[in-house]
Amino acid sequence: MDKALNESHAAWVLILTSTASLMVALDALVVATALTEIGR
């Protein structure tokens, strides 16, 4: 039971930290792509 709970927590940690990291990295790249447009 504890092991299953730990595995469930670990899976959520992986999903949520990966998504957060994706959001931050995505922001940097999206802004880099749009830099010329923002500059105008």
Binding site: H9, A10, W12, V13, L14, L16, T17, S18, T19, A20, S21, L22, M23, V24, A25, L26, D27, A28, L29, V30, V31, A32, T33, A34, L35, T36, E37, I38
Partner: protein, 411 residues
């Protein structure tokens, strides 16, 4: 790094969620910015949010998985993060072409709110050893880095021997020296210097610095090159960067298996070499009438090289320290990564401005080639640094454990 210490002390999940809040609010401020000054200020606050999120994501990941499953977890984490390299340029292109640029920043709001609310409900709270917050370290390193970056950015317009450049460079170097001297003596240092006695930790951080420096340096110019020199629309520029992102997303999950066959040092070094090859080729072919097909192989090489190296470096650094020091190690790695990105862009911009400029497509192409050339050299330096990642992990971890237990006050 300060966020990492705060996470150890007040709860990693709590500070992670707070970082998400800062990032989302600052993103909204960016979207609503009435002028460039406001946008820059809001973007700086957004950077603070990102600087809180990234080390705590790594620290929570490092503690949620046992050592034997960490390589797998970091591989997944890196692969998901790598999706940004596929999605980022395309999403950026679509938004700037079909919507308006503020939508770039609104994009973060639903994702951030969803992750924050689910984190509160699904992630258990965790703590690390309690330590004070090192304000003097924070001020000296921030001002020192600002001085160095200022000198790099102003070197060309103001002159490399001008009083402005030389004084900011000198001040930056002095403050960095002061920072290191203070960190060696501080009771609760921002960056725990004893960890740098671990060869894998030091080499991993140096490799991370160079990896992020090179990738941020090239990404800063790649889309601009496509728009300003090759005359592409923002969306077409984004789509044309897909080979880099696809190579990254495909190769990153295979990095762990490659490391088992070639060793961590071998894979990271090979990754840097591939990346150097890609940048060098791009430097050689960059010109205003460049055919897109010629850019594909260099982009694939650079993307695959980066993807081979990044998860292995993360895993090696976190795995090199004792469990009680994972928070500090993640914070240090994240700080070094951010610094690498800042210096990479600053160096690439300095070389771009020295060799070329934005006046004409020809001068932009010259500058872009120069920037890629210097990034290729930095990648070669990374290939050498990576050789120090060779296996010594068990001894290193034991040394880290001993060092962690030496000072009183750990949890």
């Amino acid at each position: 790094m300060t966020a990492s210490v705060a996470g150890d002390r007040f709860g990693r999940r709590r500070i992670f969620v707070a970082g998400m809040g800062v990032f989302v609010v600052a993103s909204a401020a960016c979207a609503l910015a009435p002028g460039i000054g406001w946008l820059i200020a809001a973007r700086a606050v957004q950077g603070v949010g990102a600087a809180i999120i990234m080390p705590l994501a790594l620290a929570q990941l490092g503690t949620a998985f046992p050592p034997e499953r960490r390589a797998w977890a970091f591989g997944i984490y890196s692969s998901v993060t790598a999706l940004s390299s596929v999605l980022g340029p395309v999403v950026g292109g679509v938004i700037t072409q079909d919507l308006t640029w503020p939508w770039i920043f609104w994009l973060n709001a639903p994702i951030g709110i969803l992750v924050a609310s689910l984190s509160v409900r699904r992630i258990p709270e965790s703590f690390g050893p309690r330590a004070g917050i090192d304000f003097l370290g924070l001020v000296t390193v921030t001002c020192g880095v600002l001085g160095l970056v200022w000198a790099l950015m102003r070197g060309n317009p103001a002159g490399w021997t001008s009083a402005e450049t030389l004084s900011s460079l000198t001040l930056g170097l002095l403050l960095i020296a002061l920072f290191i001297a203070w960190e060696l003596r501080a009771k609760a240092p921002m960056i725990p210097m004893h960890l740098f006695r671990l060869r894998i930790f030091s080499a991993g951080n140096a490799a991370m610095f160079l990896l992020n420096a090179t990738v941020m340096g090239t990404l800063f110019f790649m889309a601009q090159f496509q728009v300003a020199v090759l005359g592409q629309s923002p969306l077409a520029a984004g789509l044309r960067m897909l080979p880099w992102g696809i190579a990254l997303a495909v190769v990153a999950p295979q990095a762990g298996a490659l490391a088992r066959r070639l060793g961590e040092a071998g894979v990271v070094s090979l990754g840097f070499l591939l990346q150097a090859l890609g940048f060098a080729a791009m430097a050689l072919i960059a010109k205003p009438d460049l055919a897109y097909a010629a850019m594909i192989a260099p982009m694939v090489a650079a993307g695959a090289g980066f993807a081979m190296a990044i998860p292995i470096v993360q895993k090696a650094v976190v795995g090199a320290v004792a469990a009680s020091e994972i928070g500090k190690a993640s914070g240090t790695l994240s700080t070094i990564r951010q610094l690498g990105g800042v210096f990479g862009v600053a160096i690439a911009v300095a070389v771009f401005a020295l060799i070329g400029g934005r006046a004409t497509p020809q001068s932009f192409a010259r500058g872009f080639a120069g920037a890629n050339g210097i990034l290729a050299l930095l990648s070669l330096a990374g290939a050498v640094v990576a050789l120090w990642l060779s296996r010594e992990a068990i001894g290193d971890t034991q040394a880290s454990q001993a060092a962690a237990e030496a000072p009183a006050g750990s949890d």
